[in-house]
């Protein structure tokens, strides 16, 4: 039922249910409610919504004040503004003060498309990951988001939800018996030769790459790390032990994001050769996703190449 749905529309539907069930839930927005698909909720539930205007810093601290009063605020803005722009407000008034605020940053990385380099958060995971206590969740599709929502609502503490706004590139978690755990990574495809650790839109690229690799006789294991922090080290290390090499695929700078998280995890638990897909420490630029996926070498073809490279490194190290 969600195949053609935009993630923001599904998010709005889930939040509407939550608002109706819990009068303490309050949505805050900094003049992007229309863009984030939640404007109808602002019209329908004036007591449980607040548009602070173009003032993200103030939004974060007002949310912290509301949380200290027993409310459960969700703040909404683009990923770039939720992270780098208001890093200190998130760090001090939300995380350090231990306030139960959920932070929704939309259009992460190249998903910002025609808004261009100024709006492309390729560092937001790095910013958020270095804040103690921050949980970072990046849903892959609407089904996963829907399954996650009750656990997000039940969790006491800050969560950064790094959310694609529009129709996700593909659906991977539609199975009715899919059991979601906010703190467990999901095995999407089993393989013995190489592990593709992927998050967000890169899951689709990784699955495509796994198909191409399979035709070449290489069986790739694909693991979706929807929760980048705290990382499910057990699943990450277990797969590393099984395959002996990996490629981390993310819509983010290769510094500070999932790649760093996986590398840190494996350095501790099971060191293996790794390659990294993502922006190679450069700024972003304007363009549609297919152009940017290719230009930044974040497409399936690039993942195949990195997988073949890391397999060679694995053989050399044997």
């Amino acid at each position: 039922m969600y195949e053609k749905a935009e993630m923001r529309t599904v998010m709005a539907r889930l939040l509407k249910e939550a608002i109706q069930q819990d009068e303490n839930i309050i949505l805050l927005d900094a003049d992007l409610a229309r863009a984030n698909g939640i404007l109808p909720l602002f019209e329908e539930f004036p007591q449980q919504t607040l548009d602070v205007g173009v003032a993200e810093s103030n939004m974060a601290c007002v949310a912290a004040g509301l949380a200290s009063y027993g409310y459960k605020p969700f703040i909404f803005t683009f990923a770039a503004f939720a992270s780098r722009r208001i890093c200190d407000q998130v760090m001090i008034s939300i995380a350090y003060a231990r306030q139960n605020v959920k932070i929704v940053g939309t259009d992460p990385g190249i998903a910002a498309e025609l808004n261009g380099g100024t709006h492309m958060a390729l560092e937001d995971v790095g910013v958020m990951r270095s804040i103690p206590s921050m949980v970072i969740f990046e849903p892959v599709d609407c089904y996963q988001l829907a399954k996650a929502m009750p656990q997000i609502l039940a969790y006491e503490g800050p969560i950064y939800i790094r959310m694609f706004r529009k129709v996700p590139p593909a659906t991977w978690f539609a199975a009715e018996d899919y059991k979601f755990d906010l703190f467990k990574a999901d095995l999407l495809r089993s393989g013995r030769d190489v592990t593709l650790y992927a998050t967000g839109i890169e899951v689709t690229q990784a699955m495509k790459a796994a198909g191409v690799l399979s035709q070449k006789g290489i069986e790739a294991e694909v693991i979706n790390i929807h929760t980048i922090k705290p990382i499910d080290w057990h699943t990450v290390a277990q797969s590393a032990a099984k395959t002996g090499c990996g490629v981390v695929c993310e819509n983010h700078n290769v510094i500070g994001g999932l790649g760093s998280a996986v590398a840190e995890c494996l350095a501790n638990h099971h060191p293996i050769p790794l390659e990294f897909i993502g922006a190679q420490d450069h700024f972003a630029e304007v363009g549609k996703m297919p152009y940017l996926l290719e230009k930044f070498q974040m497409d399936a073809e690039s993942i195949v190449k990195k997988a073949e490279l890391v397999l060679k490194r694995k053989k050399l190290s044997c």
């Binding site: 007591q47 607040l50 602070v52 205007g53 003032a55 810093s57 103030n58 601290c61 007002v62 949310a63 912290a64 004040g65 509301l66 949380a67 200290s68 009063y69 027993g70 409310y71 200190d88 407000q89 001090i92 008034s93 350090y96 003060a97 231990r98």
Partner: protein, 279 residues
Amino acid sequence: MEGKRKAELVKKCRRIRYLTMDEIGKLGVGHVGGCLSAIDALVVLYYNHMRIDPQNPRMSNRDRFVLSKGHAGPALYAILADKGFFPLSWLDTLNRGGTRLPSHADMNQTPGVDMTTGSLGQGFSCAVGMAIGSKRRKDNAFIYTMIGDGETDEGIIWEAAMLAGNQKLGNLIAFTDYNKMQLDGETRVINDLEPLSDKWRAFGWETEEVDGHDVEAIDAAICRAKQQLQRPSMIILHTIKGKGVSFIEEMWRNNHNITLSPEQHKKTLEELREVTLDV
């Protein structure tokens, strides 16, 4: 205000100054100037106005106070200890490893502290959030907050000021500790705030200016602010940085964060001890 009550509050201000200076003096360093300038307003607020219960610091419908100029934490701790939120002996632990009294106010460490502050500007914005929460909950609480004059330079102050004005937060009462100095020098030289009242008024706030060391004037201003339910109130306190200790007042150009030798500590207490401790 009755003369007797005024005398009691004046004495209480001196006792809080004594406790604050003893707290910082025992450590030997601290934000002395901005603690001393803020004390009279904090005393009037905590001893004459706030609906709080030291036995139940998280009472749900209590009034809140957010010390947005979080570096004046030691002055707030002296008041909270004096009121019984925690033992007076805690004051001797200020800023020492493992203390529950850190230099900047921390709601998760200190009973009676309503918001974690220290990154300037943020506490004020949090207080606006609390006032919106209180108003929507209709719990008839007042949200008080104090900012510094240097802190007023922060952009988030004006983001929050605009929202508070537009939301008509009559339950929000703020103070500016206008001691005319910020760390690097005089506020009028670095980034002049004037005309300060006009700025707040333009943002939809009820504004008045009072002598920040006159407890009667501060009390009257708070009473008027509590009657103003349609707009947030800003009470601008004209204060002296380091007020109450002569040699620190004389250092008004440079008493923001200073060391105190054991001799200076002793001298400070002697000056403040001249007024009785058994208020």
